[in-house]
Symmetry: C2
């Protein structure tokens, strides 16, 4: 039912502007340049924009409209929203700020808008949002210029953010890291569409394989929120970063989005009950999301394969903290590997292929470990600086996907490392810059696997 927010045939930009840098200009330009459907500018001033006819009201557009984007001062919103309802527009994004977030007066204005859509088929996202970005249809209401904020490529992660700034910053970072997404939604004041609606919708969306949420406090009813999560997490992973977890953090949330942040304990226990994977920091949110480009493991038996002993030790420490099982290779497996390697290779877990490791050594080790049935997945630490490690290591890692067990990589460094890492990322093998982060991401897969078995 929210489909037309992401895949409309026709869009009206209410408040489209001819003045560069105005929000109504940036958004109109986004649609003109990227969007495949029809775009109608609406403005009380009907001077043509970029040679296009401007309509004084949506009601004057001689076409069905699926999505309206409102970028006009708050006070004028109720009037145009009413016209959208009369025009039977299914989806409306209210970008405009100046509603509940500014206090009593804004709250009244927001209530007025709620009444206008009541009983109609019009659904509203916002107000006070940066809105929607869909990487395949190019619906893009983000009013930040592409110079300052890149847009991520197509992928299978969908991302819901209560905060516009957190959302846009992460999108920019994703575009730089070449991590793809399918849909992004900032839902701001959530006068109508809220986090539960969006999670429900994305749960059914075929393009979405993983749902990522930045949440300050829920806007929907607790019961609905819990039931939605229980249902959706059985179909696909939902990863949530809840901010406002400490006393001062809760206060800060109240000033920011006016949400009731509630106690950290309540949220964490809800997340546990409903199979949500909780991220505990900004970085974990997408560290975990990226892990799900790999299959979910059967159990928690992991083997660490490294060409740098120190990194192996750091990963081991984190595995222990996360209670991942680092069992020793069996005698049979050890003997089989021993016969193929020089004597100084360390055949414990971590398996240390040492500083003269070759791609072939990785291939043999991964093949034998994954075929043995002794492990449910691999953390492959591939320090590409090692002079003997050929570039074909990337092909070998990609080839190992045939075992249908999760392989997460850790590599860090400069240009050379970044080049090889992006080949892996492009082939759905996530690469983490720190051993601890790779391990925690692996653990998020294990957590989800455990939930699915329940």
């Amino acid at each position: 039912m929210l489909e037309s927010f992401f895949n409309p045939k026709s869009v009206a930009i209410i408040g489209a502007s001819r003045t560069p840098n105005k929000l109504g200009y940036v958004i109109f330009e986004n649609f003109i340049k990227g969007f495949g459907g029809k775009v109608y500018p609406v403005n009380v001033d009907t001077t043509p924009i970029s040679g296009r006819e401007v309509f004084p009201s949506v009601k004057k557009i001689p076409d069905k409209i699926d999505l309206a984007v409102i970028v006009i001062p708050a006070a004028a919103v109720p009037k145009v929203l009413k016209e959208c309802v009369e025009k039977k527009i299914e989806s409306v994004v209210i970008i405009s700020a100046g509603f509940a977030e500014i206090g009593k007066e804004g709250k009244m204005l927001e209530e007025k808008c709620k009444k206008i859509i009541k009983g109609s088929k019009t659904r509203v996202l916002g107000p006070n949002v940066i809105g929607v970005y869909d990487s395949s249809t190019n619906v893009d209401t983000l009013f930040l210029s592409r110079e300052r904020m890149g847009r991520p490529k197509q992928g299978s992660i969908s991302f819901i953010s209560q905060s516009g700034a957190v959302g846009s910053t992460i999108l920019d970072w994703l575009s730089e890291e070449k991590i793809g997404i399918t849909k992004f939604i900032s839902y701001g004041n959530a006068m109508d569409v809220n986090e539960s609606d969006l999670i429900e919708f994305l749960g059914r969306d075929e393009k979405t394989k993983v749902i990522v949420v930045y949440l300050e406090g829920i806007k929907s009813e607790g019961k609905k929120f819990i039931e939605t999560l229980k249902r959706v997490t059985k179909i696909k992973p939902v990863i949530i970063l809840k901010s406002g977890k400490t006393d001062k953090g809760i206060k800060a949330v109240a000033s920011h989005t006016g949400s009731l942040a509630g106690s950290a304990k309540i949220y964490s226990s809800v997340f546990k009950q409903t199979g949500v994977i909780e991220a505990n920091s900004w970085e974990e949110l997408f560290d975990f999301a990226r892990a799900f480009s790999q299959p979910v493991p059967k159990k928690n038996r992991v083997v660490i394969i490294t060409d740098g002993g120190g990194f192996g030790v750091l990963a081991t420490d984190e595995c222990e903290r996360q209670k991942l099982q680092l069992s020793e290779p069996s005698e049979k497996l050890k003997n089989s590997l021993k016969n193929k390697f020089p004597p100084y290779i360390i055949l414990h877990n971590p398996i240390d292929l040492t500083g003269d490791a070759t791609a072939e050594r990785y291939r043999i080790t991964m093949e034998e470990c994954l075929r043995s049935g002794e492990y449910d997945g691999v953390i492959a630490i591939t320090l590409f600086q090692v002079p003997t490690l050929e570039e074909k290591i990337t092909e070998i890692l990609i080839e190992m996907k045939k075992f249908k067990k999760p392989i997460l990589c850790c590599a860090t460094g400069g240009r050379f490392t970044k080049r090889l890492s992006s080949i892996l990322e492009g082939n759905s093998i996530p690469v983490y810059p720190a051993p601890e982060r790779a391990v925690r991401a692996f653990n998020s897969l294990v957590k989800y696997a455990t939930w699915l078995k329940k």
Copy 2:
């Protein structure tokens, strides 16, 4: 006394080679290209290399030698080491592997080497090391090609690593991030020079402002280690990442460097007693080190200034966890700011300058907060994607250094953000990609300040 490892006038490369990709070739080339002093190749095969006379032994070089770098098979090392002693060479780096780390036979070889230098003035770094990198003299024994591993620019951090792979990976990453260092030392088996000697030396080194250590297990006596730390931490900060902290991690260390990792608790309590700042992950090691390019705060009262509410909340949560004091601005300070800002600016702590923040708003807020005496430092969250935030924000942040209070930044994103961040980094204002990391880095400054007051 270790000075000639870093600033020799003349260097002998024992095992210099004319075969590309051999370690003795890469190291010789490094010196030929970058080092300002005299370089003498030594090899049993005396065919000239790059037109230079090759000496069959250091003893045949008609010059005083300050530093010898040995890159020959382990078995041949004792003989040439003896010649180095006879030649009265002060500093010797033994790159060669195949000593204590491979077992009994290697251990005997290492003991033999120890006997050779006993009573002499020759000090040995290694064996089994990647050695030394000095960014100002260009002593560079790292045998990894510059294509795969960048070299960091000049700076004021010195970095000691027990593991060569951890060391070289971090150097490569530092070069990419444009973070400078002064000296890097990998000390491997530490048959002579160990972590205590190096910390002691760097404590007195004028170019070194911060000492960073990656440690698996100490090679020096416990008492010496503790006393050295106590002395040096009073002069400059020492940040240590100790790996091998869990049961399995300790076992992994034993297979890796043969060190006794000891219990995590013992190490952590030693670090507390001696004023060491302990990093708990790979990333914290340099997150903390970079913070010390800023002054140390008097107390722990921090103000968070942000243009993105969500990031402010995340930083607040982390401040609470780290027990940093987030006191509210006084009524006086609030009123003074209120008069200068639009009504929707949120004047608590965090101070949220909102999504239409300007550089001037940051200037006013930082000036007034730092001048008020109510805060000991600032965490400035500057999301550069905000369209109204002018590029001169970097100049304003740099100007604020006049208050001599620590300012740590948080910004994350793509190309635009990276460009502005690197201007700040170049002016000694560290920028962190996640709010939690900025807060923990600030806390490392507070911890050190507390130690200095003891």
